[in-house]
């Protein structure tokens, strides 16, 4: 894998996380605040609160990384199965998913929800665990809950996972997803402090359109780049 591909994986993950955050503000921002309420009173003080949110997010990002490693391994086997064209086909698929994500965030086409419905089935196995971890009275439990949170059905995560699988090995898959998680950090950490204002902004149609358009561009770029490279490779 050349440097440009690695770079585009990391940047792609980071950008998807960052711009996809518009989605997060509305959805995961709510969890962040709700989990804030779940904590033992001692942890809700100002200083501790940020630490608590960091623990939740660290757990969540760890889950993403694990999922990324799984996706990367899956990509490895797909590459083996598809032969030399494999990496390009996967990248085209990833570009397609990014486009779908852009459409989803912008609110133009909601196809990714079918995927979320599938994810919701997976989530059913995790959700009972959440109750057992209440109340959150220390960083360890916060990490665990954050880890569970990572498996909530989310179209955003799924489309980036496809990108991660296009890396074709577990390490880069995990890295891509970690970058994605880091990209979501500012949004989720800010929500604690500025929840009202930011979610009001995120609810604005224009904000979602802008973020959706950026992701569309990104997906388009991946698609075109991968298609060109595929044609090049076929010659």
């Amino acid at each position: 894998m050349d440097e440009a591909t690695q770079l585009s994986l990391l940047l792609g993950g980071l950008a998807a996380g960052f711009f996809g955050s518009v989605h997060c503000f509305a959805m995961c921002g709510g969890i962040a605040s709700a989990l804030g309420l779940a904590a033992a009173p001692a942890l809700r003080r100002r200083g501790a609160y940020m630490g608590l949110q960091l623990c939740y997010s660290a757990g969540r990002i760890a889950s993403y990384s694990v999922a990324g490693a799984l996706a990367g391994s899956l990509g490895f086997f797909l590459n083996e199965a598809l032969g030399p064209k494999g990496p390009f086909l996967l990248r085209i698929l990833a570009g397609g998913f990014l486009v779908a994500l852009g459409l989803y965030i912008g609110g133009w086409w909601l196809g990714l929800r079918q995927l979320e419905a599938l994810g919701a089935k997976l989530w059913q196995h995790f959700s009972p665990l959440v109750k057992r971890l209440q109340p959150v009275n220390g960083p360890f439990k916060a990490l665990l809950i954050g880890g569970l949170w990572g498996w909530l059905p989310c179209g955003l995560v799924y489309s980036v996972l496809v990108t991660a699988s296009s890396a074709g090995n577990w390490a880069w898959g995990a890295l891509t997803m970690t970058a994605f998680g880091v990209g979501t950090l500012p949004a989720l950490l800010i929500t604690g402090a500025l929840a009202q204002r930011v979610s009001a902004l995120a609810r604005k149609r224009e904000a979602r359109w802008a973020a959706g358009s950026l992701l569309l561009l990104f997906g388009g770029w991946t698609l075109v780049g991968a298609s060109l490279a595929l044609r090049h490779a076929c010659h």
Binding site: A34, E116, G119, S127, Q134, A193, A195, Q196
Partner: protein, 823 residues
């Protein structure tokens, strides 16, 4: 309990509040209710939250209606919300109506950043028919509004302000505080984004600089640039937003504020960097952009904190008032909200509690602490019939009071309203500074243009960053802040010690004063009698005759009786029977079988049927203005007492300090009595005129001002209003009473003359600080400009210099918050 589902419009997702796409059904069944959900994700999340027992989150989230956020909803919803403010019951809290039917209110406005905003809002409001006056207070973000409710509704005015992009609320302490907190929180958020961005980008910048020396592969260089771009973007789009907004507003209003060059610099540097990144050529300035935004935000943040501080100082006054009061009804006591109190309500105030409204004492004797109003730390003794001011603290024993003034009529509310007025008036000094800053901005823009042109011809590769440095380094923030920050700080600092400036020009004029005219003797005296001489002429020891007089007078409320009570060391233990008061003449009683009287000599001497009794000759000559009181029994006189109105203890030092400052002190009195000359002599006042009519006093003020004098007139503020109004600065000895009627430019709440000298001292100090600030700002800009234009100042250094300069000015002004009272 609030029903959570009521908080979200029915068609929106219960969790993320985005609209639910038509034809989809992911709704979640909880406790027989169907919660709408937009997608499987939200459904799972909501289930996760509800099942974890965190349903409270939805309730605490953002309940529309009880939170200012409601106003950022769509316009139509906002209009609905502001209509509430037309309800007279709601208006009672913040609207004051005068005799002519004109309504007065203070609006808190969010989003004012500069003089242009203030101007825009005023213009928009004044366009509306029925608006009589709209004064914007830039440093406190408030608008003083006067309007005719018959012509225009308050809600219409609020909407007008909303139309041009500002959010206005009737000012109520709670709303205002919420807004301040919100503003502060958002500013902190911006600061955080800018700070984090700056740290990240500087790291990359170091790598890039190092790379430039050691040879970096283009791929890595471009990667670092792209990452810098990604980090800088939120800094520019989010953290720098206030500057852009202010800039757009300035330009829309046809003005050039300080945010214009700032925005220009940020935009130019950012776009130029994107260009360089995209085409992989030239220089990037992501680090400079982030630093500039960060340092500017730091400066603004500190300035905002300073402003909030003077605001909170005023606000603290209103917070003194408790939320509930114990109202006495027919046979029952009930806690009621202070807002629902009416004039005439009877209230019980326990020791340690705060008096909720203004009124008079019906039952009980206690002492109250008025230090929050007057700065006077010693508690004041208080008894039946005496005045209680809301916000003061009852110390010793329970009192029952009757409410006389409630809501906006109370002394506290009046003080806050007067302070607001003072701060909203733009003194000539501030106008001058604004004008200078405006000219300065134009100069900066022209010079920046010239610099760019020159460098473009000489060394085009440097033109961009040199111009950036010029724009950044000369930002006239410090210049615009210098004066208003100092005035706001001094006004609120003085208010805290009991010197209440009610007009904007007070500090400026006080610093220029040449004459202090004291209107009437009462200004210098305590206006209460004191026993200055006592002579025993009968068979009683002096101490026991005084005790007897006190015992006789103890039931009376007359000022003369008070003089005796003050003179006695302790409450008299003498048993006096059959005590009866004879109004305006004296008191009679039976003590040890003797009929005793104290009072007017004529009334007392009736006991032994003698006429024309006189006090002993030698003492009488010494105290010609004294009021002589006689005590006697059926056999003859027992004791004489001379009662006199005493000079205030601080009067001598007061006059001395004024004279030491080079001020001419004159005493103008309507009283023809010789007391005037005695007082003047005792205080070393050369010019003292007695028996003057108000007309004479007015002529004197006019004559002095015609000679070019700046006259400070000190009076009681109520009876001498026309004379006070004629003087450049009028100062009333307020003492808390009748504050609403006082028309003076400043009020001494502490009823202590030394407050006036404090005010004078502080006015000079303020002038000094303003001069320092303006000098510094101008000198800095004049020095920095050529250096930057010559290309000796890198953009990041320019950002540091500019911020340090405005920080210095703000901190210097902050010193004025702390008025050191001379002891």
């Amino acid at each position: 309990m609030l029903d959570p589902s009521a908080l979200t419009p029915p068609d929106n997702c219960y969790h993320c509040e985005l609209p639910v796409p038509a034809g989809d059904d992911y709704s979640l069944e909880v406790d027989d209710r169907s919660l709408p959900m937009c997608c499987p994700g939200c459904r799972a999340v909501a289930q996760f939250i509800l099942e974890s027992g965190l349903g409270d989150y939805y309730r605490y989230r953002d309940a529309p209606g009880n939170n200012p956020e409601a106003f950022s909803l769509e316009m139509s919803e906002m209009l609905e919300a502001v209509r509430l403010y037309d309800d007279p019951e709601v208006q009672r809290d913040f609207v004051r109506r005068d005799e002519a039917g004109v309504d007065f209110a203070t609006l808190a406005v969010e989003g004012i950043t500069c003089a242009a905003c203030a101007w825009l809002i005023e213009r928009q409001l004044k366009k509306c028919p029925g608006v009589l006056k709209a004064d914007t207070n830039l440093s406190q973000h408030r608008v003083q509004l006067q309007w005719d409710a018959n012509q225009v509704a308050l809600s219409t005015l609020l909407q007008e302000v909303a139309k041009i992009g500002y959010r206005a609320f009737p000012f109520q302490p709670d709303t205002q505080e919420l807004l301040l907190r919100e503003e502060s929180r958002r500013a902190l958020g911006r600061l955080g984004v800018a700070g984090l961005g700056m740290m990240q980008v500087m790291m990359y910048a170091v790598a890039l600089y190092a790379g430039a020396f050691e040879g970096i592969e283009d791929v890595y260089r471009d990667f670092l640039r792209w990452v810098s771009f990604a980090v800088t973007t939120p800094v520019v789009l989010y953290a720098a937003q206030p500057f852009f907004r202010a800039c757009v507003r300035d330009l829309a209003a046809g003005q050039l504020g300080m945010d214009v060059p700032v925005s220009l610099a940020i935009t130019a540097a950012y776009l130029n960097s994107i260009w360089a990144t995209w085409f992989q050529t030239g220089e990037v300035y992501y680090d400079s952009v982030c630093m500039f935004v960060f340092f500017l935000s730091v400066g603004r943040y500190i300035e905002m904190r300073a402003r909030h501080r003077s605001d909170f100082a005023t606000r603290t006054l209103l917070r003194l008032v408790p939320e509930v009061a114990l109202r006495l009804g027919e046979g029952e006591e009930k806690f009621v909200p202070v807002r629902s109190l009416r004039v005439g309500d009877r209230l019980r105030i326990k020791p340690g509690e705060t008096v909720p409204v203004d009124g008079v004492v019906l039952e009980g004797i206690s002492s109250v602490n008025e230090s929050m109003l007057t700065g006077e730390p010693t508690p004041k003794a208080i008894g039946v019939g005496e005045r209680l001011i809301g916000g003061t603290q009852n110390i010793e024993s329970p009192l029952v009071m009757e409410a006389r003034q409630v809501g906006p009529e109370t002394v506290l509310s009046t003080i806050v309203a007067l302070l607001d007025r003072a701060q909203s008036e733009k003194p000539a000094l501030v106008g001058l500074a604004d004008g200078v800053a405006r000219v300065f901005v134009i100069m900066v823009l022209i010079l920046a243009g010239l610099t760019f042109l020159a460098w473009w011809l000489i060394a085009p590769e440097k033109a961009i960053w040199v111009t950036l440095s010029v724009l950044v380094v000369t930002c006239p923030c410090a210049l615009s802040l210098a004066t208003p920050a100092a005035l706001a700080g001094a006004t609120s600092g003085l208010a805290r010690i009991g010197f209440l400036a009610t007009r904007g020009h007070v500090l400026e004029s006080l610093a220029k004063a040449t004459h202090v005219l004291l209107d009437k003797t009462g200004t210098l005296t305590k206006a209460e009698f004191e026993i200055t001489e006592s002579i025993s002429v009968g068979d009683l020891e002096p101490s026991s005759s005084l005790a007897l007089a006190c015992a006789l007078e103890s039931a009376s409320e007359h000022p003369i009786a008070k003089a005796f009570l003050h003179a006695a060391d302790s409450a008299s233990s003498l048993e006096v029977e059959e005590r009866s008061a004879n109004p305006n003449r004296g008191v009679e009683g039976r003590w040890q079988g003797r009929r005793v009287r104290v009072g007017q000599p004529k009334y007392v001497s009736e006991l032994w049927q003698e006429q024309g009794v006189q006090p002993p000759e030698q003492v009488r000559l010494n105290r010609q203005e004294a009021l002589w009181i006689l005590m006697g029994d059926e056999k003859g006189p027992l004791a004489w007492y001379a009662l006199e109105d005493q000079l205030r203890p601080e009067a001598k030092a007061f006059v001395h300090e004024l004279q030491a400052r080079g001020l001419q002190v004159e005493l103008l009195s309507g009283d023809p009595s010789p007391a005037l000359q005695r007082v003047a002599g005792e205080l070393n006042i050369e010019t003292a005129r007695g028996g003057l009519t108000p007309r004479d006093k007015l002529d004197r003020v006019r004559a002095l001002e015609a000679e070019g004098a700046v006259v400070v007139m000190v009076g009681d503020g109520v009876n001498d209003a026309p004379v006070l109004a004629a003087a450049q600065v009028s100062i009333a000895m307020g003492g808390g009473a009748d504050l609403a009627k006082i028309t003076a430019d400043a009020v001494l709440l502490g009823d202590d003359l030394s407050l006036l000298t404090d005010g004078l001292r502080w006015a000079h100090q303020t002038r000094r600080v303003i001069r320092q600030n303006v000098t510094w700002a101008l000198a800095y800009n004049l020095c920095a400009l050529p250096l930057a234009a010559l290309g000796w100042v890198a953009p990041w250094l320019a950002a540091v210099g500019m911020s340090a300069s405005s920080l210095l000015v703000t901190l210097n002004a902050l010193r004025l918050h702390r008025v050191r009272q001379k002891t």
